[in-house]
């Protein structure tokens, strides 16, 4: 009776449409609320930024007309067009006409005889509805004549007209000072990636494949850089190799301010990320392959290239793209140690904060997003393959003691460990020195943050507040969202869209997100602009910025839950939210805690996204490090950086203790 299975056999007529249960409605509603959150905090700001990058502003002189009276204030009716006047006088450089959204152009230059004391009266008007000009701070956008005395006429400023086009991009790519940054950024990212991945690979290899001692200590050291802002290694490098550095001679005259500094610092702060990924890849390799290689009498060298490297290849590729992405999007480090060496992330900052050229900032952002998205996409692709590899049943590799290998491994790891600990130690040491390098006696002067620019101790407490808020709200939003998207019945399109939105933040560099927030939340027409300049926008920005990794952690935990819990609960007529609070959350508690510590640590260390968004009242510790360094207070900057380190370290220890306590208390079911 094996008939052809073809839906065309089905009789015509309506399809059974399921009635939604209260829970279904609740869950879909909840999912849409969180999707809306992501749209408002991610999609719309990005859209605002994109449209900004295509917005051009130009003062159209032909749209303005003037009349000049005689000394008695009588107008003879002669109408002068601004464009014609400028052709005669050449007072305004045509380049000045292309300006930003805030551009203002004074007009007195068009009148060589102008004197603000003269009794001559002026009339000015727009010839078209688009034209606008300011008298003082009053906007005139009508086409009627406005009569002004000389003294007031001085305060007339023409405003630009908005248009849409590629002009900003054309402008960007015809300015070598700007587009050279693309080359610089790529160059730095590639070099850092090669070095970091190589170092991290051998470090992970030594920890996984040798029987050396103190593996646990080395593992801890390798993870330490995650606890500090990326600009901290920059400060350490200044102390080591800067103009007054203690080991300046080691550079043989080369300057640490520039690519060398950025690369060394990048190695420091990306090392833990590369190490974790490669270590996981090496840990899952199959011992049976090594036994097979040994039985075939393959040399160690050959085994390494035919078994070890292919087994870890996905990990290596993934690590490479993660590091590449981190370096190319990083802002703090090149800001501190980059010197005259321009990179994209710093360009955004300079355009926006330094030159107030928001359109150009948006253009650089768009340029920066391209390699970031590219690296992100490849990483996701590779990660999915890695998972497939993991699910195979393999026998874990057990290293055999070998004196020579173990010794070499130990020496290597000790060098890497020394580098990481050294960077941190220099910062701490410098923070405690009275006046580097002249008075090396110890003091706590550098901890008097209230006496420095940067927000003082308040910024430190703000950071802790931000960390806690981000951890609490972020974990709640992320975990609940992940639950809804994993366990909602049907609603496939909606869930697929949600998953896509949840992946997007990872591809968006922090600088870009921060700038996009300015465009979106600072717009006067946006009712949400009340949160601009508050702690709320910092929390929202941080949650969104670090959404993806948290979301993936939550999804992984939820996927391990029995798919039928919801079915059973529904059959017992119990609300899904009861199941969620009584079963899902308790069972996933370890992952929930992991998400919250991840969010806390990142909120404490992030600079890039929040640098555009803090206000004097909500300055942050990481921003204070940046600003104090900028102001030349390098020692206090180092001191604050180390405060972040200790805070995160303590948070990690608390997280560890809480996790253990929680496991013992609520996860008794795990033990038989």
């Amino acid at each position: 009776m094996a008939g052809i299975s073809d839906a065309t056999q089905m009789p015509a007529g309506p399809v059974v449409k399921g009635k939604l249960s209260r829970d279904d409605i609740l869950m879909r509603g909840g999912m849409m609320v969180i999707a809306l959150y992501l749209i408002i905090t991610l999609a719309l700001p990005l859209y605002a930024m994109l449209s900004k990058s295509f917005s051009t502003y130009r003062v159209e002189l032909s749209q303005y007309e003037f009349q000049i009276s005689d000394d008695a204030g009588v107008f003879d009716g002669t109408i002068l067009n601004a464009e014609v006047l400028n052709q005669q006088t050449g007072a305004i450089d045509p380049a000045e006409l292309n300006t930003g959204s805030d551009g203002r152009l004074p007009v007195t230059g068009l009148f060589p005889d102008f004197s603000f004391r003269s009794p001559v009266m002026y009339q000015v008007r727009n010839t078209s509805d688009e034209g606008r000009f300011l008298v003082g701070s009053t906007l005139q956008d009508g086409t009627d004549w406005v009569t002004l005395d000389s003294n007031t006429f001085r305060r007339v400023q023409l405003r630009p007209v908005k248009a849409t086009g590629f002009d900003n991009f054309i402008n960007y790519f015809s300015t070598p000072a700007l587009f050279n940054s693309i080359k610089n950024s790529l160059w730095i990212a590639v070099i850092s990636t090669i070095v970091t991945v190589t170092l991290a690979f051998w470090f992970a290899y030594a920890l996984n494949r040798s029987c050396m001692r103190y593996k646990g200590v080395f593992r801890l050291i390798a993870m330490a850089p995650i606890l500090v802002p990326s600009l901290l290694p920059g400060i350490a490098l200044v102390y080591l190799f800067g103009n007054q550095g203690i080991a300046k001679e080691l550079l043989f005259g080369a300057s640490i301010y520039g690519p060398i500094g950025i690369v060394i610092g990048s190695i420091f702060f990306t090392f833990p990320h590369a190490f974790m990924i490669i270590s996981t890849a090496l840990a899952i390799s199959d011992a049976r392959l090594y036994e097979a290689a040994a039985s075939l009498r393959a040399t160690r060298w050959r085994t390494f290239w035919t078994v070890t490297i292919p087994g870890a290849r996905y990990g290596l590729i993934s690590a490479a793209f993660v590091v590449f992405n981190l370096v190319i999007t990083d802002f703090g480090l090149p800001k501190v140690i980059g010197g005259q060496f321009n990179v994209l992330a710093v360009d955004i900052y300079k355009q926006v904060i330094g030159q107030q050229n928001f359109e150009m900032g948006a253009v650089v952002s768009v340029v920066l997003v391209i390699p970031a998205i590219f690296a992100f996409a490849i990483d996701r692709l590779v990660q999915s393959k890695q998972v497939a590899l993991l699910s195979a049943r393999s026998v874990p590799y057990q290293p055999q003691p070998n004196q020579r290998t173990d010794l070499i491994s130990f020496i290597y790891c000790a060098f890497v460990g020394l580098f990481i600990v050294g960077i941190l130690a220099i910062c701490q040491y410098a923070a405690l020195i009275k006046f580097w390098p002249y008075d090396l006696s110890l003091s706590l002067n550098n901890y008097q943050f209230d006496k420095m620019d940067g927000g003082g101790w308040a910024s430190y407490y703000n950071s802790i507040k931000l960390g806690l808020f981000t951890a609490v709200f972020g974990t709640a939003i992320v975990f609940f969202g992940a639950y809804l998207v994993e366990k909602t019945n049907g609603f496939r399109t909606g869930r697929a869209l949600f998953q896509m939105f949840a992946m997007l933040p990872m591809a968006i560099p922090g600088m870009v997100l921060g700038l996009a927030y300015i465009f979106f939340f600072n717009s006067p027409s946006n009712p949400l602009n009340v949160i601009y300049g508050t702690m709320a926008i910092l929390v929202i920005c941080s949650v969104t910025h670090f959404y993806t990794v948290s979301h993936l952690t939550a999804v992984t935990a939820l996927k391990q839950m029995d798919r039928e819990f919801e079915s059973v609960s529904a059959s017992l007529k119990q609300p899904t939210m009861k199941l969620f609070s009584r079963v899902t959350v308790p069972v996933c508690l370890p992952s929930v805690l992991d998400i919250s510590i991840y969010l806390f640590v990142n909120a404490m260390t992030t600079v890039s996204a929040v640098v555009f968004l803090y206000s004097p009242k909500t300055s942050l510790a990481s921003i204070a490090v940046l600003n104090m360094d900028d102001a030349g207070d390098i020692a206090p900057a180092a001191a604050m950086g180390m405060m972040i380190f200790y805070t995160n370290a303590v948070a990690r220890i608390i997280h560890l203790l809480v996790s253990k306590g929680v496991l013992v208390r609520t996860q008794a079911w795990r033990t038989r």
């Binding site: 299975s5 059974v16 399921g18 059973v568 017992l572 119990q574 069972v587 079911w669 038989r672």
Partner: protein, 370 residues
């Protein structure tokens, strides 16, 4: 709890039910009625649509077309929470962080029952499934069989009108499985709850069901009691899927007899006309061995002499492979009791006479060569 048996009143009826996954049809025009208190098994190979049908009955995956009536009420488009059923899954789906008691009590909460009442009901249910002392433990501390009984207790805690079992025993050891299927059947009889179980294990279905629904490729092949299904299979698929079946290529000849090789046999009544190509089928245990010297050409009996080619001892019987050139290439498999083998002195290489009882030899449509 009142003790009652399956009545004639229909409790669950499924009418013209279709389920499509994209262009693929998982269920094709299923119509089925389940009587009140009846234990029905959906049996079939994996991918036959049995679980899909169960999930449609539960409302977990709605059918594309067709209606489901339960207790006289149309539940076709209702979500699971608005239907009246308890369900047990292959994975048990016990909440790992809740004790056994709390697992069972989960469905009793928010139903207007007092704390004391819930505690009493939980104790009663634990007794019922034979695990009175285990209430304070966590699921992971119980064996698979015990966990399955807890899942069952949780499913029947609220006295649902319908009990759905989705391969409830598949994850268990063979021994536990046999024991538990007996217990579940007992419990079901005691409670009198209408029960639908999905299984791919024919033994389980034969042992537990009042009626078996044999499914294949999204359609129902046969519905009947275990003996009907076994003794009177409706078609070759059912015959082949349930138990062992010798299949011999054959043609219908005059008088409705089946011709195989040079011989013709009388068989169970059928409706095929002369000349139809068919498959002659007989179960190994239905073949009768005869003593030496029995007349193989007795025209009143379906006898044939064969070579006992190979014998395999399977504990309670011998599985024998029989050959005869006149039978063409086919080999017959017969299960002879240990007694018969001893009595007849059977051994490998023996020439012997067997009988294919007329009413046990069946004719089925020959499937088109694929």
């Amino acid at each position: 709890m009142t003790q009652h048996h399956a009545s004639d009143e229909t409790y669950l009826s499924i009418d013209n039910l279709w389920k499509a996954f994209g262009a693929f049809l998982a269920l094709k025009d299923i119509t089925l009625a389940v009587k009140n208190g009846e234990f029905v098994c959906f049996l079939g190979p994996s991918g036959c649509g049995k679980t899909t049908l169960l999930r449609a009955i539960a409302g977990l995956d709605l059918q594309t077309k067709g209606t489901v009536m339960q207790g006289g009420k149309d539940v076709s488009n209702l979500p699971p929470s608005e239907r009246d059923f308890g369900i047990v899954f292959q994975s048990y789906a016990l909440f790992p962080n809740l004790t056994i008691e709390k697992n069972i009590a989960f469905g009793l909460e928010n139903t207007g029952r007092g704390k004391a009442e819930i505690t009493a009901r939980v104790a009663e249910l634990l007794d019922l499934v034979g695990l009175p002392e285990q209430g304070k433990k966590y699921p992971a501390q119980l064996s698979g069989g015990q966990q399955q009984r807890i899942a069952l207790a949780r499913a029947i805690a609220t006295n649902p009108g319908l009990l759905l079992l989705d391969e409830p025993l598949s994850a268990l050891d063979a021994k536990v499985r046999v024991h538990l299927r007996h217990e579940i059947k007992e419990l079901q009889r005691k409670l009198g709850v209408t029960t639908v179980m999905v299984t791919h294990d024919q033994e389980e279905a034969l042992a537990m069901a009042d009626r078996i629904v044999v499914m294949n490729h999204g359609v129902i092949e046969q519905v009947g009691s275990p003996t009907e299904i076994y003794r009177e299979p409706a078609n070759l698929f059912v015959a082949d899927f349930i138990g062992e079946m010798n299949q011999i290529t054959s043609t219908v000849t005059k008088g409705g007899r089946l011709s195989v090789g040079e011989k013709t046999f009388a068989c169970h009544e059928h409706s095929f006309s002369d000349g139809t190509p068919v498959v002659a089928a007989i179960r190994p245990e239905d073949i009768i061995p005869h003593e030496e010297g029995y007349d193989a050409d007795d025209p009143n009996r379906n006898c044939i002499d064969v070579l006992l080619h190979e014998m395999e001892f399977l504990g309670s019987f011998w599985r024998c492979r029989l050959r005869n050139e006149r039978f063409g290439a086919s080999e017959l498999i017969a299960d002879f009791s240990i007694n018969a083998v001893r009595r007849l002195g059977l051994g490998e290489g023996r020439q012997m006479v067997i009988e294919l009882p007329t009413d046990r030899l069946m004719a089925f449509d020959r499937p088109e060569a694929s």
